[in-house]
């Protein structure tokens, strides 16, 4: 009995120690609004633009859904360049950059997609034709493209597949999210991806807005899911973009609740920021999110409020 009481005390102490560590992490992470992405005409008034970051140069790519032009903003959040204003590259839905500054653009003509290799000025170098795609992958309409360590990742949010190829388009593998998550047939139609991110270790992060879940898929095949629906802080309303930092913290956008939620690497909710409103730092229906190499978060939103930039301090 005495021994058991002593063991329980040890367990409780260890738990308290972990909780203390967690709460210490929470207190250290601060978020502050800096500004909005702007040009010489003032704040850029995008409505739900798509974001991609060149972490090496700390430049942010913004794809405007109304004209599919791609604008590049520097680390001071000022627009420095744009391309595809004439849609010479087609309807660009996403871009990603490699370590040499080349840009891979995911573009559509009608419903036919292409991956275009562009130089840093957005000028076409060549089309990257995907080769040896398995014949049983019939319907594939990727929504996002990401580059990591010599590999291109094309994600289809509807058919829940990610095709991986090398930079020349040679097929590497397909990641069948549908099979991995074993989604029930009756829920399949509503299970679409909201947010997609790959970290430097090759972990894939997804959000499923209708299911109110976020997932981490490791290269080793481990699947971690977390999230609970609701309207309280830390609960998932309609989740969208997701991104992680190098400390394993998750930043998840909630379009309905108009916040960005922060979870630590153990999926413990830390805090959220934004909120519906018209002041600086507020967010109107945020959708996409990106993080550069200087701990700056970029959040795209509706209401023609463009892209808000936040600084994370640890």
């Amino acid at each position: 009995m005495k021994g058991m009481r002593k063991n329980i005390k040890i367990i409780l102490s260890i738990n308290l120690l972990f909780l203390f560590i967690a709460s210490t992490t929470s207190a250290e992470l601060k978020v502050s609004h800096l500004y909005n992405l702007s040009s010489f005409n003032g704040k850029s008034p995008y409505n739900w633009a798509t974001l991609s970051v060149d972490a090496g140069k700390n430049e942010i790519y913004v794809i405007n859904p109304t004209d599919r032009a791609v604008s590049i903003y520097d680390e001071n959040a000022m627009k420095i360049y744009s391309f595809n204003d004439d849609r010479a590259i087609g309807n660009i839905v996403d871009v990603t950059a490699d370590e040499d500054g080349n840009i891979f653009a995911l573009s559509y003509k009608g419903l036919e997609y292409s991956v275009m290799l562009l130089n840093y000025r957005g000028e076409l170098i060549s089309e990257v034709k995907l080769k040896d795609i398995p014949k049983d992958i019939q319907a594939f309409h990727p929504n996002r493209i990401r580059y990591l360590n010599g590999r291109l990742y094309l994600a289809d949010f509807n058919y829940l597949r990610i095709i991986v190829s090398d930079k020349k388009g040679n097929f590497d593998r397909v990641i069948d999210i549908d099979s991995l998550l074993n989604i029930e047939e009756k829920k399949r139609d509503a299970s679409v991806i909201g947010g997609f991110h790959i970290d430097s270790n090759g972990n894939i992060f997804l959000t499923f807005p209708v299911d109110a879940l976020a997932y981490k898929l490791s290269p080793e095949g481990e699947i971690i899911a977390f999230g609970r629906p609701g309207s309280a802080p830390g609960r998932f309303g309609i989740v969208g973009g997701i991104v992680t930092d190098d400390k394993g913290n998750y930043f998840i956008v909630d379009t309905l609740r108009c916040v960005v939620m922060i979870f630590d690497k153990n999926h413990v909710f830390q805090k959220e920021f934004g909120y519906f409103g018209s002041k600086d730092g507020n967010l109107i229906a945020p959708k996409d999110i990106a993080l550069d190499g200087r701990d700056r978060l970029y959040v795209s939103q509706a209401g023609r409020r463009g892209i808000s930039v936040f600084k994370i301090s640890y």
């Binding site: 367990i11 260890i14 738990n15 972990f18 409505n47 739900w48 798509t50 859904p65 109304t66 004209d67 599919r68 309807n91 839905v93 559509y108 009608g110 419903l111 990727p142 929504n143 949010f157 509807n158 998550l181 989604i183 009756k186 829920k187 139609d189 509503a190 679409v192 499923f208 807005p209 209708v210 299911d211 109110a212 879940l213 899911a225 977390f226 609970r228 629906p229 609701g230 309207s231 802080p233 830390g234 609960r235 309303g237 309905l256 609740r257 916040v259 153990n266 999926h267 413990v268 805090k271 959220e272 909120y275 519906f276 409103g277 018209s278 109107i284 229906a285 959708k287 509706a302 209401g303």
Partner: protein, 433 residues
């Protein structure tokens, strides 16, 4: 022994910590599933403080005061479009709204249409040098959600519903769709707002012997009168239809066949009653309704019509989703057999009837009055191409659109499917070409 016991203690402690931090690993249910979703998805009770911040959920109103009808957002449509608006640029499932890209159109292709067309504004030089226009607000139902899309604002032309009195300044998603999904089909086939729990969506052909299934597309039925719009209670029940489970898609290869059964025109008449007529030639307006059965002549024309100048078609393959009809039945098994995306092409019979949605899309389209095709042209296809300002078509046929936009307005069909000089698609039933 002590070391082992300590290791066990650490393991137990770790398990307890993980148990605190991780939550659910199963895929939870979708939001509506034929009925009402979780209340917190759209409502906030008190607009209370957020954790660690002295900031309410809706900062536009004070703490303790929620949005209208305790909604999280300030309009119903903005709440719905948090989920139903697409930003990926590719057709995606249940999305019915997207950004309009000039020269291309919006990206979603659900049978009801993409509200993004409301952003399109076309002008061209017509005969005699006059300027003709198609303003965006004429392309569909003008839901009010300016934060989602600057074009989602009050109808610039009609203060009330055409053929009715529903006020345009109340136009929201919830004007047609019951956000709480109360309308249901009971096991005996009748429609009610209670009587049995809703077990699944009723949009895909489901029925149940014991429980209820939801109304098609969560449409609102008889007696629907939300607090936001008093005095315009619906008089007709919801329509019966069965959609394929994949419906937001290009129709390049095969049509998306929603099998409409009955009741759509009666339902539209909840707001547009002045246009309803199922008793032609009395009440001189185009027939539409359960009693507006296709005559043998019209059935023969529809089934034979392939394109302008070609009447060699057959019933087995005559169906066009561009010109759909109601089957004239509420039997979901029959409708389920008719719906699909792989060329279920059987045409109408004399039991079928013409409906409002034979010519119009319920949300919006690339054509005026949310038409399924361009009502305002002689030639739908010209010189083998979808008309466009970029392919040399005359302005009166291109009407300010590029060929890609025209193609998108026809759900990415290829012009080669029709005559090189295809006339209006009214001719699918009337063959005056």
């Amino acid at each position: 022994m002590k070391t082992t016991r300590f290791s066990l203690i650490l393991i137990v402690a770790a398990i307890m910590i993980i148990g605190i931090s991780s939550v659910s690993v199963s895929v939870s249910d979708a939001f509506h599933i034929g009925g009402v979703g979780r209340c917190s998805g759209c409502h906030t009770m008190h607009n209370s403080n957020a954790l660690l911040e002295d900031t309410p959920m809706n900062i536009e109103t004070p703490i303790g005061t929620a949005g209208p009808y305790l909604m999280i957002r300030n309009t119903q449509s903005e709440t719905c479009l948090s989920c139903h608006h697409n930003t990926t640029g590719v057709p995606q499932s249940f999305r019915v709204s997207s950004a309009y890209t000039a020269g291309v159109g919006p990206s979603q292709l659900p049978p009801g249409g993409d509200f993004g067309w409301l952003s399109a504004n076309y002008s061209w030089t017509a005969g005699g040098g006059t300027i003709a226009t198609t303003p965006g607000f004429s392309l569909g139902h003008n839901i009010i959600a300016p934060l989602v899309n600057a074009a989602y604002i009050l109808d610039g032309r009609h203060p009330d519903a055409p053929g009715g009195s529903y006020p345009s300044n109340k136009m929201q998603c919830t004007s047609c769709h019951d956000p709480h999904g109360r309308y249901r089909t009971l096991p005996d086939g009748t429609e009610a707002v209670t009587g049995a729990a809703i077990i699944s969506s009723g949009s895909y052909g489901a029925t149940h012997a014991t429980f209820a299934v939801g109304a098609y597309r969560l449409l609102a039925g008889e007696g629907y009168e939300p607090k936001s719009t008093p005095g315009h209670a619906f008089e007709s029940r919801t329509p019966v239809a069965v959609s394929p489970t994949t419906y937001n898609r290009a129709e390049t290869t095969f049509d998306t066949r929603v099998a409409y059964g009955q009741g759509m025109s009666e339902w539209c008449a909840n707001c547009h009653g002045g246009f309803h007529n199922d008793d032609y030639p009395t009440n001189l307006r185009h027939p539409a309704g359960n009693a507006a059965h296709l005559t043998p002549e019209i059935v023969n024309i529809y089934n034979a019509y392939k394109e302008t100048g070609d009447m060699t078609g057959a019933e087995a393959s005559s169906y066009w989703s561009l010109v759909p009809f109601e089957r004239g039945t509420t039997d979901k098994a029959v409708l389920l057999a008719n719906s699909g995306i792989t060329g279920t092409g059987a045409g109408p019979t004399t039991d079928s009837n013409v409906s409002c949605i034979s010519c119009h899309r319920p949300h919006a389209s690339g054509w005026e009055s949310a038409g399924r095709w361009n009502f305002r042209t002689d030639f739908t296809v010209f010189a083998g191409l979808w008309p466009g300002t970029d392919v040399g078509t005359s302005a009166s046929y291109a009407q300010g659109r590029t060929t890609a936009e025209t193609r998108r307005a026809y759900f990415d069909r290829d012009a080669i499917n029709y005559s090189d000089y295809q006339r209006s698609f009214c001719n699918k039933c009337h063959a005056k070409d």
